[in-house]
Amino acid sequence: MEAALALVVKYAQYIPLAIDAGSSVVDAISRMLRLAQGAEGGTITDEEVDLHRKALDKLIEDFNTPIPD
């Protein structure tokens, strides 16, 4: 139980990233739960990995864009 909770806490950080990347709140939470379950079971789909990479890329891009005058 504690291990499962730790995974949920770990992947909860991706919820705002996924939302910023265009996902709805419900969709972002659902994907986070699938990720946590997949990690617990040792299976994470390439699609999920891609989602989180895109979300992180968006976060980086948001900072790197110039500040509007």
Binding site: Q13, L17, L56, L59, I60, D62, F63, P68
Partner: protein, 133 residues
């Protein structure tokens, strides 16, 4: 009243220190030199550290755009962006190397990413930009 304010200030300061320490701990874990093969877990940890840093930086940038950050925020952001703009291609190459099992390249690229992260941290520190806040 003054004593109460002092207690509150210390409590807030300690709370802020805890937050900054968590970021520093994550970044210290990310910036450790690596001579062993770069695993998926290592990549995951590195991306986690990158995420923490850029979350803090974006918070600062939003405050700057809203006009509620320090007067030097635009210059600070421009200076830090010199280093943050190096991250995307390096991160892309690290992911490719780890995914394909190209360990020779992965180690070199991983160490390169750690150097960039250190530069970002140092620039933020010099400019008093609290990326942990």
């Amino acid at each position: 009243m003054k004593r109460l304010l002092l207690v509150v200030a210390v409590a807030v300061g300690l709370g802020g220190c805890a937050q900054i320490q968590r970021v520093q701990d994550a970044v210290v874990a990310v910036t450790k030199s690596y001579t062993n093969p770069v695993t998926r877990a290592d990549l995951d940890n590195a991306e986690g550290g990158v995420q923490l840093i850029f979350t803090g930086l974006n918070t600062y940038k939003r405050a700057c755009v809203q006009g509620i950050a320090d007067k030097n925020c635009r210059a600070n952001i421009a200076a830090i962006q010199v280093y943050t703009r190096k991250v995307p291609p390096v991160l892309k190459e690290l992911r490719r190397s780890v995914d394909s099992g190209d360990q020779v390249n992965a180690i070199s690229v991983y160490n390169g990413l750690m150097t960039i992260i250190r530069d970002i941290r140092n620039e933020a520190y010099i400019r008093d930009v609290k990326i942990g806040a």
